[in-house]
């Protein structure tokens, strides 16, 4: 809001001296970027809202609106509803575990000075760079030995490998932005360092923790390779895997209509979350490597 109010003033100053194309070129550029980002997404929504009978009609706006694709997706036997629930369980557990474990580490990295700090930071960032498949293959063998295949933990544990570095990195950046004086004041008032962390830092870091939670949740929700490898029973498949394996009613042809509808269902919550918290998410995403 604040930016929106300030913006016109700045434009006017610039506009006074700039020729007309200088003023309009950025706006045209903005338009192109918005179209670039949103058109394919629009196409997904529109395709989902067509009747299955005119699925292959390429009109920009559907001639006949219909929710048949959406009701088809949730019919018994597709496993999509269950898939959504599984995705929620897996991504939710990963997020909570990651935050609980990562918060302490991030606070330590942001506040304490100790030897090997750079080394620990580098290790944590390096672990997020490893290719997923190198981790999945040995873990798959291990999990089939201990009969973890087709369990939630078989998807949750490997997901920590990318979620934890991401969360620690984000949280470290957030904790570091908070002034040290906060804890010092708390400790002067008689808190132990642990109490200062619990009673002062955590409540104040809530926005940062929340942002990290969203980013981690999205990353875990979007995970595909682990969920595909560790589970082969329909009851445990996540939504992403279920969608990718949808089969049409006639068996052979790809049910694009219901796939698009399922895609919309999976994506819309994320898109809403992203739109609501865009400022925070942008701050969180860029905090790690850039600033």
């Amino acid at each position: 809001m604040a930016v929106a109010e300030k913006a016109p003033k700045v434009v006017d100053v610039k506009a006074a001296e700039a020729p007309w194309y200088r003023r309009w070129l950025p706006l045209i550029g903005v338009g192109i970027i918005v179209l670039y980002c949103l058109l394919p997404f629009y196409w997904m929504i529109v395709s989902a809202l067509r009747r299955p009978t005119d699925q292959f009609d390429n009109s920009i706006i559907p001639r006949h609106w219909s929710f048949t694709n959406f009701t088809d997706v949730f019919k018994a036997g597709t496993g999509f509803g269950r898939g959504l629930l599984n995705s929620l369980i897996v991504a939710g557990t990963v997020t909570i575990l990651t935050l609980v474990i990562g918060m302490v580490a991030a606070y330590t990295l942001a506040r304490l000075d100790f030897k090997f700090k750079n080394f620990v930071l580098a290790i944590i960032i390096t672990t997020s760079m490893f290719p997923g498949i190198s981790l999945v293959i040995p873990l798959k063998k291990l999990f089939s030995d201990i009969e973890w295949i087709n369990t939630y933990q078989a998807m949750i544990v490997p997901s920590l490998s990318f979620a934890l570095p991401l969360a620690v990195w984000n949280l470290t950046a957030f904790f570091r932005q908070m002034p040290r004086e906060l804890e010092q004041a708390a400790m002067v008032d008689g808190c132990t360092p642990a109490q200062a962390f619990r009673k002062v830092i955590i409540p104040l870091a809530a926005p940062g923790v929340f942002t990290t939670a969203i980013i981690t949740f999205i990353a875990a929700w979007n995970e595909f390779l682990i969920a595909l490898s560790m589970v082969n029973k329909k009851e445990f498949q996540t939504a992403n895997v279920v969608i990718s394996q949808f089969t049409g009613t006639s068996g052979r042809d790809q049910p694009f209509g219901s796939q698009m509808a399922a895609g919309v269902v999976v994506t819309i919550p994320l898109v809403i979350a992203v739109l609501l918290f865009q400022r925070r998410i942008v701050a969180g995403l860029t905090a790690g490597g850039v600033k």
């Binding site: 474990i101 750079n118 080394f119 798959k140 860029t286």
Partner: protein, 357 residues
């Protein structure tokens, strides 16, 4: 007067206090830090380090059923040394491996170059635009938030035989068949999803450049191109390098997009990750682990080269805040001793390489 005295004192105060306070604060923090960090490090060891090592071990074994010399069926693993690796580089599997290696490399180079160019262009536009910044920021996050699998299906639908892409272009291309068209569809889908993300990171870098620098350049009579190449690029370079490094490592392990968009067992888009996955899916863990290990080595090498040659400053801000710690070079020496390939490599050069932010 009485008010000005404390003000004059203030800047001196932290300087005097800081070192003293920190040393007392630091006593015994090593042990505390180790204690607080141990949960994270233990988890990372269990889910990252252990699997990597175990993949290395697995790649030296052959598991599952096979027939021994006397014609009996044998169960269980057998140590076969480097046979799995040797098998990769022989005969038909060699062709398949090099094809996957080529595809992985080709995707990485093409996608990252395209995404970087587009991303920088987007960032420049967003930086210049004052109106509509909120809309752009919101819309730019949409491709990022869509799961890769869903975006793969979306593009599969767009590139369908009688889909919108062919309708707009007026062509009859069968995009999901073997050949250049499926490669192109993967590249387009990947670029769509991640170019805005690079744009976002670069924009954050752009916003840290003070206006005065540009004004000075203007006064000196620099034209826009000179301003871009001599001021903007060098100043966003740290942010850009990190973004590009992460994109490179991400594209090297590309799996979901070709797997869902085009499908498994299509040689024109088969990447190393897909190859390893298909092997593991047939419970041929030995060869699968060998592929995975090769991919891991490849990724580590690329990361090492990138950090070493271009001096990407991966832990940037984190280190900048602890100059004291850095000067002691506790980190640096120990990193060099560390045998863990990528970890040691990345840290060593990160510490050595960066004038950074």
């Amino acid at each position: 007067m009485s008010t000005s005295a404390p003000v004059a004192e203030r800047p001196a105060k932290p300087e005097n206090n800081k070192p003293r306070r920190q040393t007392s604060f630091n006593e015994g923090t090593g042990r505390l830090a180790a204690m607080l960090l141990s949960p994270t490090l233990i988890v990372l060891v269990l889910v990252v380090v252990y699997p990597i090592l175990s993949a290395l071990r697995e790649s030296l074994y052959q598991s599952g059923q096979r027939v021994d010399a006397d014609g009996f069926i044998v169960q269980g693993s057998e140590f076969v040394g480097l046979d799995n690796f040797a098998a990769i580089f022989q005969g038909e599997t060699a062709d398949r491996f090099w094809n996957a290696f080529y595809n992985t490399t080709f995707f990485t180079v093409t996608c990252v170059v395209l995404e970087t160019l587009l991303g920088v262009a987007m960032a420049l536009v967003m930086h210049k635009a004052f109106k509509g910044r909120g809309i752009v920021r919101a819309s730019i996050l949409v491709p990022w938030a869509i799961p890769t699998v869903v975006s793969a299906l979306l593009w599969k639908w767009i590139f369908q035989a009688d889909g919108i892409a062919n309708a707009i272009l007026g062509t009859q291309v069968l995009w999901s068949t073997e050949g250049w068209q499926s490669v192109l569809s993967v590249i387009i889908a990947d670029t769509w999803k991640t170019a805005p993300f690079i744009g976002l990171l670069v924009l954050a870098g752009l916003q840290t450049i003070p206006d005065e620098v540009y004004e000075a350049a203007k006064v000196d009579g620099a034209n826009p191109w000179q301003t871009f190449t001599r001021i903007t690029l060098p100043l966003v370079k740290p942010a850009l390098l990190v973004a590009v490094l992460f994109r490179i490592l991400d594209t090297l392990r590309i799996f979901d997009l070709p797997f869902v968009l085009v499908g498994p067992n299509k040689s024109s888009v088969e990447t190393l990750s897909i190859l390893a996955y298909l092997e593991a899916n047939q419970t041929r863990y030995g060869p699968a682990a060998a592929y995975a290990t090769l991919l891991f080595v490849y990724v580590a090498l690329v990361a090492y080269m990138f950090v070493k040659v271009l001096g990407a400053d991966v832990i940037g801000e984190a280190r900048a805040k602890t100059p004291k710690n850095n000067k002691k070079s506790g980190g640096r020496r120990d990193n060099k001793l560390e045998p863990g390939a990528a970890a040691g490599a990345a840290t060593g050069s990160v510490t050595a390489g960066g004038g950074g932010v």
